[in-house]
Amino acid sequence: MIRLFVLVIAALLLVAIPARAERLISALSNDKIEITSSFDGERLTFYGSIAPDAGSEQKYVVGPYHIAVVILGPTQDRVAREKTNVLGMWLNTDQVTFKGFPSYFHVLSSGRLREITDVTTLTTNFILPESHVLVPNAAGWWQTMVFGRELIRLMTEERLFGVQENGVNFLSDTFYSAQLTLPSNAPPGPYIAQTYLIKNGAIIARKSEGFAVRKIGFERFLAQSATQYPLFYGLACVALALATGWLGGVLFRR
């Protein structure tokens, strides 16, 4: 009975307070990143604005808002290995495999992540790099934590993982833009950019866009032939090598 009463009060309150919902309008500068022979990384811009939700009577929105953009690359099975000294030599002796680990992960935000929201929100929404190693793993909790931390460090050194806590700029109270430089070793495949709108520590709206990084033209042709027609690809390599060697000999004989 009491529970019903509380529910009724809550419903009345919801009606009484005008809906103050925000909507996130976002876009990105390119939805295809093409890897050509001169590919040396690419710059992407994420931008958008915060507007009153459709259907609400609100004319404007009141901040302060925070934005976090999470860019996630195609997943791979990745293994982290540790060398130890065996009889004076350094050997890989221990390893942990992380299944479905992102090959690329970057977070751009408009402020320090732990200040704009709490750790639980960050980990459950996979906004922190560490959240990707917190998933259950057959190797056990301790091993996963130790190797996961090292894996994130290695990925960060390769510029494949990163957190830029000043990566999002507000150009006005409601308009933001963020820039990301995709490195040349960014793996090809489908990418997802998830944008979170955060107000008073809570995620109040989210939106996701996809973009693709792919090899085009000659590079695409080569990579496809290598995997789809490996025998012909190998034969072509040998033919090219023989021709180059022969031609070199002929050209320089004089």
Partner: protein
């Protein structure tokens, strides 16, 4: 100018690739070796994944050895009969090498085995060569006439059964040591991405007593055929041959080799072998230190299978 390598999936400076190809080609022309044992380590040290480096260098070795093999063939310096036995055994060995390469890569021990393999092979070959050339240089200084070992001097290998006559090499020997050498070089070559000329030449000279005029030509012909087979095997099995990487190295290597060969005419044989021995030893020591010294980073990572 950066060039994107589609299989290695990273971009490298084009001038760097052609440059190291040329530098190694120069040395290989100078010393008459394939240069794979120099290129593979250089690529690994410059960030190309080990598997791609090994597989692509096999392609480069084919190109580097082709012009040499052809010119020796024209001069009649190739014993095709002997080369055929070596190649057949070599291809069998290469199957084993490529399979071992795949197994080791999945087990995470590929880098270690490659380092240890280079250390043992280059270390022992380098020491042997250095000894030999120092002895030759000293004797020459003392005025002693160096008597070349005669091809008809026999050792225990010549007592083995299943003898075959190799006309061009003027040899009548058992095929068993020939096949064993081919098998070993095929295996090592596929595993380490080297042509194996630096093992083949001493093995032919000291074990089989193949006369000097056909040793290098036969070794080169064998390297071309076997490395061609290895390239195809790598392309099918590990799919890590980067044709663009291999081509850049080839162009540099083929050009460099011609200048190296021209420069080699100004140096004496013993000096050349002494220098090559020092170079081989230096690389062996580099690999040895990598195994023994505390690594900069005890942790490493790699991708299992392909990206999905």
């Amino acid at each position: 100018m950066q060039i994107y390598l589609p299989i290695a999936e990273l971009s490298v400076s084009l001038f760097f690739l052609v440059g190291i190809g040329g530098a190694v080609g120069f040395l290989s022309g100078l010393f008459g070796v394939g240069g794979g044992f120099l290129l593979t380590p250089l690529l690994i040290f410059s960030g190309v994944p080990t598997s791609v480096a090994v597989a692509s260098v096999t392609g480069q070795v084919v190109a580097a050895s082709t012009s040499g093999a052809l010119s020796y063939y024209r001069r009649g310096g190739v014993d095709l009969h002997l080369a055929m036995y070596l190649v057949i055994a070599g291809i069998l060995g290469a199957f084993g090498g490529v399979a071992a390469f795949d197994l080791l890569r999945n087990a995470g021990q590929l880098d270690f085995v490659i380092s240890a393999g280079f250390l043992v092979l280059l270390g022992s070959v380098g020491i042997l060569m250095l000894q030999e050339s120092v002895r030759a240089l000293l004797k020459q200084r003392q005025g002693v006439v160096v008597r070349e070992r005669l091809p008809n001097q026999h050792n225990w290998i010549h007592g083995l059964p299943m003898r075959v006559r190799f006309k061009k090499s003027r040899l009548y020997i058992s095929v068993l040591p020939v096949l064993a050498i081919g098998l070993f070089i095929g295996f090592v070559g596929a595993l380490l991405g080297v042509g194996g000329g630096f093992i083949m030449v001493p093995a032919l000279v000291y074990l089989l007593r193949v006369p000097g005029n056909v040793v290098i030509g036969t070794s080169l012909a064998q390297v071309v055929a076997m490395m061609a087979a290895t390239t195809i095997l790598h392309a099918v099995q590990s799919q890590s041959v980067d044709i663009l990487l291999a081509f850049c190295l080839m162009v540099g290597g083929v050009a460099g080799a011609q200048f190296g060969a021209a420069a080699g005419k100004h140096l004496r044989g013993e000096q050349l072998r002494g220098l090559l021995a020092l170079l081989v030893l230096a690389i062996a020591i580099r690999f040895g230190l990598g195994l023994v010294l505390i690594p900069e980073d005890v942790f490493s990572m790699s991708v299992v299978g392909g990206a999905r």
